[in-house]
Every structure is written in C-alpha cells, then in structure tokens.
Symmetry: C2
Subunit: 169 residues, 2 copies
Amino acid sequence: MDQAKVHSVDEQDYNIRTAKSSDHPRIISVMPNWWDGRDLRPLLPRLFLKHFCDTSFIIEKENELIGFLIGFLSQSIQDEAYIHFVGIHPDFRRKGLGKTLYRRFFNQCPNNGRTLVRACTSPINKDSIEFHQRMGFQIEPGDGQIDSIPVTLDYNCPGDHKVLFMKWL
Amino acid sequence: MDQAKVHSVDEQDYNIRTAKSSDHPRIISVMPNWWDGRDLRPLLPRLFLKHFCDTSFIIEKENELIGFLIGFLSQSIQDEAYIHFVGIHPDFRRKGLGKTLYRRFFNQCPNNGRTLVRACTSPINKDSIEFHQRMGFQIEPGDGQIDSIPVTLDYNCPGDHKVLFMKWL
C-alpha cells in the first residue's frame, strides 16, 4: 500500500497508520460516545478489521484513538473501492482529520487499480453529506428526494434510505 | 471462479448460481421469516451483494429463493476466505442444501489461492455448530466456554460471544 505523506494542517501532531485486527475492541468501545449514544456497533463486526485492515486507517494522539476509517477494495468490481465507516473523536472534529483519512484511503487506490470510490450515508446526516461534497464526491441520482437531497430508497432494507456518493480519482 | 459441478442429492432440482447485487432486496425480504422473526437484516447491508457477489451463491427453485451464502476472499490475509452469512428456506432444510452451498464456496477457493475458510456463529445456534462440525470445521479454542462449547468472548462487541470455526481445504 502507498504510505506516501499526505499533507494536512495537523498531521504532524498525530500518528496515522493502517489498522490492525486488534484495533477492533477499541473502536467498538468509543462508538456509542462518538455517535451521541446511537448504537451503530452492529455495522462494524470484527470481520472488517480482520479482513480489510490493510485499507483501513487509524489516527492516534498520545496513544488515544482519535479517528478511524474502515474501507476496502471491491472484490467483484475491479476498479472500485468502498469507504464503509468513518469516525472522529468529538473533541477533534473540524480539524481536517476526516479529510486526512479520506486522502490516505484515496492515495492507496491507484496502486491497487481503483479509479472510483463509493460511500453512502443517511439523509439525516447533513454534516456527512456536506463533507462528502467538499471532498469532491457526487451524489448518485437515486429514486427519491429527502430535504431536496437525492436518495436511493430502501437501500439496505425497507425504510433505510441512503445518500450514495461516488468520486472518480 | 470455479463452477465445477458439486454432487449433492437434490442438486439437479435447483438452480444454483453466483449472486448478483440485485438479489439483495429479495434476500432481505425473506430474512425475518427464515429467522423466526429475529431481525438480522443489519448484518447484511447491500455492500456484501455489491462487492462480494462473485463468491456468494444463490439457490432457486422455480424462481423462488431457497437459499443463499454470502462469502468473500479475505483482502488482508491472502490465503483465507470467509463465510459471512448463510440462509436456507425453512421448508427446504435438512436436504443437504447448506452443504451444497458450502461446497460451492470451497470449490472456488483453490483457484483463488485460499487454503483456509473461516466462519462464526452464536453459541445459542446449536444447529449451526453441529453443521460446521459435520462440514469438517474445527472450533477455535477461544477464551471461554458456553454449554461446553469453546467460545471467543466479546467477539463483535461486549456480550456478543462467538463460536469461531476454521477449516483447512
């Protein structure tokens, strides 16, 4: 994987590295707090950290977990990569760390033959929608609209509508 | 992928094929009924059918969904493959269809350089534990025991203990 330096305002203050399977319990332990008590832990079973750790990234500061990105290279679609889950410690938001994680993920795509990155989010998550747009993602047209945002209805199951993002590298 | 014929008692009566992304809504729609009302749908977001469909398999009979296996080749561990989720229609159990799906998954492993297959289940699921043992899986030693079965405690999150299986091909 490409470990080239990514330039970001605060990057020198943090330890940014690829993930390890053993990071999983620590990620799980912070999730309820980082998501205001919402329990999203079922979305991140250990398999993601065991089998896709080499395209997933961790940010630490003085050994404390500050952020993580869980992504993988599509197995079925040879030119695509997918960002599944991203979290930043509430006290360290708005510092460019999400951008740093995404860039780290983008950087290892060309060496792996990936030209398209996909991600998705819930229509309620306006911060995430704006973040992806700032990062250059397009929203896929979908088959519905919520708050004027195009959504793909019933994406993961009935009632679970999603905003789908794609970005050509 | 290796599509070699797998010999199974009932196989000629069924259509067995690799999965497609468009199978996802149909799989999601049967899950509550196939699992006695338990809602396991969050464990199978659409990403598995989009990005790992070429190592996932579907059984149909007269166009009705009878069974499915969702599996993938580990990205981080080059010689491993993982079976994530398997379901068989309640009226078609105990006919060897689970075995057929597992063999189909095993058959495409050598061509992809995979010599070890892993899977896991909940300790409460005695049928699944017996099935994996009949299929030649070993249970990993773990760090606890439930009903005399070795389990790995807190595997996906605190309280979510799992029986971990491995099988060398």
